[in-house]
């Protein structure tokens, strides 16, 4: 069971959960993250913006969708990834959420 903590890395629990989710499913888009985490879209957008200003995540447009992912160019990106993988390992809830995200191809016309 994931240990419940009142404190949070990166300034808020939402930021931490976004990062922990991203390490499992990146890239993801803000609305998807909000839905998966049960958070408000605006909160996710604000948290993502803050993480981007810290340099730990990057966003890029894919068509009209803005994708969010960990910034591999960041100075301590490898260490952050290791930390987040460790946190995800101890968080069955986020792993369950991540397991619902389908990334493999799907033929048009088949149920999603």
């Amino acid at each position: 069971m994931a240990a419940h903590r009142d404190d949070a890395l990166f300034g808020s629990q939402l930021r931490e959960r976004i990062l922990t989710l991203l390490v499992l499913i990146e890239p993801a888009y803000p609305r998807q993250i909000a839905t998966l985490l049960g958070a408000h879209l605006i909160s996710v957008q604000n948290a993502t913006r803050a993480l981007q200003e810290m340099g730990v995540v990057a966003t890029r447009l894919f068509g009209r969708t803005r994708l969010v992912e960990l910034d591999r160019r960041w100075y301590a990106a490898a260490e952050l990834r290791t930390l987040l993988e460790r946190l995800a390992e101890a968080d069955p809830q986020v792993r369950t959420i991540a397991s619902t995200v389908r990334k493999r191809p799907r033929l048009p016309g088949k149920a999603v």
């Binding site: 200003e53 340099g55 591999r72 160019r73 100075y75």
Partner: protein, 184 residues
């Protein structure tokens, strides 16, 4: 003061000089550094500076405002120029390498700190490597060709090997592609 039509590079000198006068070091990096070294091949849409010490937004604005800049979200814009200025978060680094040395150019009482040509190449190449951004490859090659004498290819290769080792997501074939484009 930034005048209408001030070029990206002239603006970089003005901004860097203003920070220097205030006692801070702002180092030009990213695509704007590539533009500085290969202006005929690539012109960035913004001047990116990383500060060697962390300043608050207010402190940065206090230095930028007298130049004619105003805040527009996270960037700074001025009337009559098409480019903007940005201060991405530090540290000044390319991938896992901290940058502790850069070039300092002085002209007519102005100063510009800019990452070395090799670091400009490494930075642009990293965009290509991290995001499959082909324009990053083009810029890296343009700088490497324009600054051929200043680029140590052996050092570049050693760095890419280290990055690929530490970041498994990187594809070593990207290096081959870079070298091939450089020889073309």
């Amino acid at each position: 003061m930034i005048q209408p039509g001030t070029s990206l590079i002239d603006g970089a000198f003005a901004i860097c000089t203003a920070f220097d006068a205030a006692g801070f070091v702002a180092v030009l990096c990213g695509g704007s550094a590539a533009s500085y070294y290969a202006p005929d091949a690539y012109m960035s849409a913004d001047d990116d500076f990383v500060l060697t010490v962390g300043l608050t937004r207010t402190e940065i604005s206090d230095i930028m405002r007298p130049l004619g800049f105003r805040e527009a979200g996270r960037i700074y814009v001025a009337d009559g120029i098409a480019w903007s200025a940005d201060f991405p978060p530090g540290p000044l680094a390319v991938g896992r390498d901290l940058i502790t040395a850069w070039n300092t150019i002085r002209r007519d009482g102005e100063v510009l700190h800019v990452v070395t040509p090799l670091d400009a190449v490494r930075d642009r190449f990293m965009h290509y490597s991290a995001w499959d951004d082909y324009s990053g490859l083009t810029q890296a090659v343009a700088v490497a060709k324009a600054q051929r004498d200043a680029i140590d290819l052996a050092a570049f290769r050693a760095w890419t090997e280290s990055e690929c080792r530490e970041t498994p997501q990187y594809d070593p074939k990207r290096v081959t592609e870079f070298v091939r484009a450089l020889r073309a």
